[in-house]
Subunit: 225 residues, 2 copies
DNA sequence: GACGCTCAAAGTGTCAACACTTTTGAGTTT
DNA sequence: AAACTCAAAAGTGTTGACACTTTGAGCGTC
């Protein structure tokens, strides 16, 4: 059921896209599963046109694969493909870190440090790992890079895929405490304006996250879900 | 006029896409120009559906921008956007170079060196800068990286944009001789299995290409074409 | 001349029907 | 039981018409 109330001017195609994206994230459209235009049109009570629009857009962000005349499918990432994704993160987030080291003003850097310190205080008070938000740190670094293309590549494709995989993996024990200290090391390198070190530390950080995730061995069990 | 003869099974939408891509590369659909569905449908003698399919696909590779209910437009890159593109190349091609340094077999590396040497001999014999194909070298490095995501990011988006800009720029005096010697330095670093150096040299190579291109000052004249 | 309003024309989004391709499953043969 | 055939069903691609939104020409007012 597509919400047709126009809280803001939008098309059915875009609404269908949002809802299909949710379905993918939630696993209702699982990796490898068929994307059936006609069935979705019935489900959402729209014609096939907006479904096609949404599917094309999902294809554009790599969440769906499609061949002429064949049923579209939600992408199913192999272990190798996931490894490739993490390498892309190393390349891009590492480089973003370099750009930040070279470009971030002292004032903005002070604000980032203050925000990280606040998160640490929250953690000490609450003992909640969520206070050490992994994604917020990365988000801040990437957005601070100032490279719009880099930002849109990460947020436009790669993070959608990782988010989908996250759901598939289910709960992975977090490494928040380790991640937090790695963040601090990265920040110190940035503060010292050592771009090589900052980049290298960010890459290592992501490499460890990749190893942590892929060593959980759950990817080989994806097919059983 | 869309060629409807089925040399291979394909859809009208895909054929329209190919032809629109050509039009963009040739400047017939110039950056900033309106993409009018109805007019293109008449021109290609198909219904608006395949046009929409093609436009969605062009949007997926960032060559077209679109808002609901508004005319799509061929993207028009600002100077900053082009700079961002080159930075992306630095990040990704630099990283590809690192991967190659770490992974390429001695045999494959020897073949690459031989191919480069052949190009040099051709150049000495012909005096034709085309013998020192800039793109072939990069292509070989990127494909040899073994990271499918990286390859598709470069070939799926970034190079389309650069190709479009190349046409817009018109003829830029080539720096083939300099580029060639830089290629050799990169190869030597790869051969020495010095990933840091290889990456750094590739980045510098691309940075110089960027500076060379953007210093031609032609980008500020784009609007006059 | 500049600005604002009106409204028809132009253009995009959606729909349902038809055209075309692929998949499915029943029936037959080995 | 396995393999093959083939028609029907299912699903995708395309079309033209209608619904909806945006644009711009024409007109009136200041």
């Amino acid at each position: 059921m597509v919400d047709r109330t126009a809280s803001e001017a939008s098309t059915l195609g875009e609404r269908v896209f949002e809802q299909m994206l949710d379905m993918i994230y939630r696993g209702d459209l699982a990796p490898g599963s068929v994307v059936n235009e006609a069935a979705l049109a019935v489900r959402f009570q729209v014609s096939r046109g907006p479904i096609r629009e949404a599917v094309r857009r999902l294809q554009g962000i790599q969440l769906v694969t499609r061949e002429p005349f064949a049923k579209a499918r939600v992408v199913k990432l192999s272990r190798q493909a996931l490894a490739d994704l993490y390498e892309m993160r190393e390349a891009l987030e590492g480089y973003a870190c370099r750009l930040v080291t070279e470009r971030m003003s002292d004032q903005d850097l002070a604000e980032l440090i203050a925000a990280l310190e606040t998160a640490r205080q929250d953690y000490l008070r609450d003992g909640q790992p969520e206070s050490l938000s992994d994604f917020d740190f990365h988000s801040r670094i990437i957005r601070a890079s100032g490279n719009a293309r880099l930002i849109s590549t990460l947020y436009g494709d790669l993070y959608h895929l990782l988010r989908m995989m996250r759901r598939i993996k289910g709960h992975v024990p977090q490494r928040k405490h380790d991640a937090y200290s790695e963040h601090w090391q990265i920040i110190r390198a940035i503060k010292a304006r050592d771009a090589d070190l900052a980049e290298s530390l960010m890459r290592a950080h992501i490499r460890r996250a990749a190893a942590h995730t892929m060593d959980e061995g759950q990817l080989t069990d994806v097919a059983s879900r």
